[in-house]
Amino acid sequence: MSAQAFFIGFFGLASVWFGVVVFRTHSMMRSALALLFSQTALGALFLSMQAEFLGVLQIMMMATEMSIMAIFMVMFMMDPGGLGEMDMTHQKRLSLAAGFVAFAAAVAAAVFVDWGPVASVAPDAAQQTHDLGVELLGRSMLIFETAGITILTAMIAATAVAMPPVKRIRNK
């Protein structure tokens, strides 16, 4: 077993573990932090799969995203600290079953599909970044621009939705 396989297994296990913790703890704060750790572990997983740019990007994005999410947790949850031991779940058995079925199906697909020849060498980080840049500003430029416009639209729309209704004063 190579070192790469070990790290993939380790960080995968970590991210899955923290993902489970997200829904196991009663404290919202801890949930948000667990998700942050899970995503960070994923970033590390990407790094160990030699996708350096994506790994770093993942860690940076998820750090900010999850901290924002933690703030919202505290804002919106009835019991952010989880001290009340409140059960915040429902239809638990169906959810469990669905989760297991999805997991089993995905594993089955991963195991039983013939993935063909596996590349042993990946391009180095500089080459990767160069290729990605050429890709972004070349063949996939339209998609990239569309994604940028879409995220801008989403930001404006989210702000508009979140703004309090303006009371109009009629001058008479």
Binding site: S38, F103, W115, Q128
Partner: protein, 103 residues
């Protein structure tokens, strides 16, 4: 069968299952969003694994990951906007209480 690819895919499958469970079982809008984040994260793991072990020369795969990240961001932004509006209107984001869309 490459052990690294299998490990990565199993990791993705596990994250996907956990995310499904979370999205279905949680009552809070923000927690449901966390479940969705996990599902999307599982997709990213798979995409990165496929790039690394099947098509290391295709930059489009990394491009795809970027798009999924964008989708995650958009999901977060819109989700929180809706959450704020809902909280302002009803004082809670408990989805058990939100049945306005019942047909």
């Amino acid at each position: 069968m490459n052990i690294e690819l299998l490990l990565a895919l199993v990791t993705g499958a596990a994250l996907f299952g956990v995310g499904i469970y979370g999205a279905l079982s949680q009552t809070n809008l923000v927690m449901i969003m966390m479940g969705v984040e996990l599902i999307l994260a599982a997709a990213m793991v798979n995409l990165v694994a496929f790039w690394r072990y099947l098509h290391p020369d295709a930059a489009a795969a990394q491009m795809f990951v970027l798009i999924v990240m964008t989708v995650m961001a958009i999901e977060m932004a819109v989700g929180f906007g809706v959450a704020i509006a809902r909280f302002r209107a009803k004082g809670s984001v408990e989805m058990e209480e939100a049945a306005e869309l019942k047909g």
